[in-house]
Symmetry: C2
Subunit: 123 residues, 2 copies
């Protein structure tokens, strides 16, 4: 399929897709006219790329991990890749905690603001 369709089916911009493709994350081929031609499983692939990016990895890390999800047999270095993912999960948990704390502090800040506001008569 062409890039536009892949974009629609994944919800990812064509710009991003070209970016991923350029970094070698999408294994696309070219039609005689130079247009990119993506195989069906690119949809799944893109989903995975987004997922990995969303958990905080960067493209180079994603590139290292992707092959490990291949349907055909294992590849070297995937156990370390797994460790990496597990580590990322912990990272996320920490992030969530941090966000909670931050959120709480902001709420406090707002409360104090309101107090000051009422003491000084508000506006």
């Amino acid at each position: 399929m062409q890039i536009n369709q892949l974009a629609q089916r994944t919800g990812v911009s064509t710009r991003a897709l070209r970016h991923y493709d350029q970094r070698g994350l999408l294994a696309s081929q070219r039609l005689p006219n130079g247009y990119r031609d993506f195989p069906e499983h690119s949809v799944e692939q893109v989903r995975r790329v987004r997922l990995l990016l969303d958990v905080g990895l960067d493209l180079s890390a994603v590139a290292l991990l992707l092959p490990c999800f291949a349907d055909d047999g294992r590849l070297t270095g995937c156990d370390r890749a797994r460790e990496r993912l597990v580590g990322q999960i912990r990272e996320i948990d920490r992030s969530i905690e941090t966000m909670r704390t931050t959120r709480a502090m902001l709420a406090d800040e707002l409360a104090r603001w309101d107090q000051h506001d009422s003491r000084s008569g508000g506006h």
Copy 2:
């Protein structure tokens, strides 16, 4: 105090402090030799800047909000600023939800990976 001390007391890099200062968020003065001279309350100020940045605002937004925390009287536009902060809190809540979901999906991905691994004998 000088920039290095402020950095130590806030845990923020001097580079970042200079950045904030340049954007007009820190109200520093200059010593005759050109060195930046920060007042005591800069410590608190920096804390607040970091807090606001951490909740997802960018520096320009922080710049608009900071004056509203001033100890001396109210300023114009602060009610809208407040709305903004409240909105940010909701944003954070959504972010946390998203992270949770993402985390869950990643965990699933890992589980499937493991299944595949054991079915194919692992390595």
